[in-house]
Symmetry: C4
Subunit: 250 residues, 4 copies
Amino acid sequence: MSSRESIRRALDGEHPTLGRSVEFALLALIVISALAMGVETISGLPEQVTTCLAAFEAFVVAVFTAEYLLRLATAPKPWRYATSFYGIIDLASILPSLAGIFLSGSVLDTRALRTLRLFRLLRLLKAARYALAVDRLGEAWRLVRDEVLVFGVAAFIVLYVCALIIYQFENEAQPDVFSSVFTAMWWAAVTLTTVGYGDIYPITAMGRIFTVLMLFIALGIIAIPTGLVASAMSELRKRKSAPRKGSDAT
Amino acid sequence: MSSRESIRRALDGEHPTLGRSVEFALLALIVISALAMGVETISGLPEQVTTCLAAFEAFVVAVFTAEYLLRLATAPKPWRYATSFYGIIDLASILPSLAGIFLSGSVLDTRALRTLRLFRLLRLLKAARYALAVDRLGEAWRLVRDEVLVFGVAAFIVLYVCALIIYQFENEAQPDVFSSVFTAMWWAAVTLTTVGYGDIYPITAMGRIFTVLMLFIALGIIAIPTGLVASAMSELRKRKSAPRKGSDAT
Amino acid sequence: MSSRESIRRALDGEHPTLGRSVEFALLALIVISALAMGVETISGLPEQVTTCLAAFEAFVVAVFTAEYLLRLATAPKPWRYATSFYGIIDLASILPSLAGIFLSGSVLDTRALRTLRLFRLLRLLKAARYALAVDRLGEAWRLVRDEVLVFGVAAFIVLYVCALIIYQFENEAQPDVFSSVFTAMWWAAVTLTTVGYGDIYPITAMGRIFTVLMLFIALGIIAIPTGLVASAMSELRKRKSAPRKGSDAT
Amino acid sequence: MSSRESIRRALDGEHPTLGRSVEFALLALIVISALAMGVETISGLPEQVTTCLAAFEAFVVAVFTAEYLLRLATAPKPWRYATSFYGIIDLASILPSLAGIFLSGSVLDTRALRTLRLFRLLRLLKAARYALAVDRLGEAWRLVRDEVLVFGVAAFIVLYVCALIIYQFENEAQPDVFSSVFTAMWWAAVTLTTVGYGDIYPITAMGRIFTVLMLFIALGIIAIPTGLVASAMSELRKRKSAPRKGSDAT
């Protein structure tokens, strides 16, 4: 096995002697890096902790950059990796920090863009390939994709239409609260998902009657996809546990 | 093919050479017109944009009026079209604007009524006839219609009865909040759908005990129809994927 | 047919010539009387309307009293009717008003107790005997009664335990809001049903962590019974539509 | 039967003459003790009631200590009982009170720790062994454990990632409300469970758009496990009611 092949396998957790240790170390770094991003948000941190976090951030960027270059160098088809789903995520997770370092010399300026790194958590899914349930979820998704997409489009149209209607009823009574159709869409989304923060709600009689009708009719449109996925998953579980049902009849 | 027949087919997307292009252009106009109604609601728009929107509105009304007249003229039985579901919607979507233009010379006075035009978005459903999931939803609906209707009536009765009861408990303690049975029905609807804005809620001990009992008992009445539709839809999906289950036994 | 038998049949909607007209008239009176109770709650009604409502109330009480006495007189076993479910409801719906009239001479003093009359709406269920879905709901209920009862008891225990725990966390920080375990139970019920009015919520770190854990674990306990009833109902629908599945094998 | 064996059986409700009376008396004491903990939280109790509660508390601790020592003394393998699930709960339910009595001479100082005693309510589950539905729930849980665990981990990751993202959008606009990623996680949990207290919600356009997307995508992740458990339970019910379906074919 060439050393190039050896590096590639180590990164993917298929190395004969290293096994999954390199893969797991990288996954652990992703998780710790995500946690560090959370710690950074705490205000009033002592000076030393901030310094530590900046150093750790630099270390993480260095490791991820090295990993990206190694994956690129050892991939059988480098261009294919660079344009693959995980390749783009790997690049997006280091670019903002690298740009920050080279342009302004600071790692903290690009905090918002660094959240792109959270997409690397999706690598956890890849590592979880032994989890049967993840596969089953995938299969269930394929079964119900059509319905869910139709409902997704329908949900968006419902939100927009409900927002336009409630705007006509409430805008005059509460011009500051229902200030445009976009605020009304925020209201419609918060109401139809039954979150109901209470920051925005109808006060006119017509607006309230419309809200009640809307809730009773449209609640289903948003709640049904969940039921579809769950029911498809249990169906698949039954199939798996009785795979040779038909062949017994021979 | 007569030119009358030709126009009718073009409008319905069945024309041999034009295909669905006319139908899709009309659908696009419906969608853009709905979006324009949203843009109109933004306050503080510059003068030019308002002028543009008014012009676009006039254009939309002109096209929809032309479409309505053409459909009426080319229909095999004009009266049947005029009294059909889509015929009424098509008329309702232009009447308010036409009335506004002829009576006051302004297109903006009848804004509230113009929301009737949103019903034209239902034409999208007609165009989506290739979407299998829409059919399946229709079939599922027919399967569970009885249950859903019974639950709908039950839900209304539950709302009314709960409102009358909570009114007895809370009216004395909060005469401004629970001012009549209608406000109490608004409270009951917002509570039973678990939206819970927080604009109106019981504060007396009896009112709270009743609310908890009501939630535990009546929540089901409102949540069950959703489960019924979802379960009927997965059942139909199974039937479709195994249509000749019985005939194999021969 | 004796006139006694004739009266009994007319009240039950089984009279050969009157048919269901008497039954339906009584049901209509129940519904209108329920609506009148709602109208009474509107404040600032003009004098004439109040007088009208009081007169209608007296009329309703008179009719229901006459109905009760007739049912009692014509029942094959009067005592059995008087102690039956509907017999008790019929009596409870007139007693408060009768007591009000005889004791204080006013029909409006016993308003709270008069809500007992709402139970008469249950007679609508009896009239709806032709609705297949009501039967199916009854059957589904018998199928899942055990599970639902276990969940009901579990839900109450969960509410109480959650209330005791959150009280320990929040009472010191918000002594006025979480003032006793009963207020905490109100919080637990409003939170676990995801209504979330916003009148009472945890603010300490421990209280919030507990709330999140509680929501994720205990939400199921309250949501599952709904799913059970829905699934049992679809099962029954399938059985009904394929009743001779087994007998075909002969 | 030795007296040691006799005591053990009496405690477990298997005694030939005492039957389940001792077991039920202990269960009743657990329930009453839990209720007393609730009564203690009411502020402004008269002096006598407080004294009564303290006396009852001492009595409960005495009985539970005696029970623990008896169980320990009569168990075939005392160490095994002491380290079993119920053994640890039994000890944890008396230790805080005992420590309070011996250290400070007061039973009320350790109120928070005494909530550990609520775990004793789990003994009710043991007593409910005749309830078929409890078993069925256990079986259903084993069927869907995998899926539920995967969803549990996914739910935590979703909460954390959503919190990090909303923090980037909202922290600048509301530095006091979205003060750190932990507050943002509280927001994410309250929003995704659709409780929506209204104490914390996004106000920026980007934050609101993200919230709507998050709700539509992530709501399923939290709602699906409930559907899975319910569907597994109905499946088991069907199997139970038709156990010899296959063997009839012989």
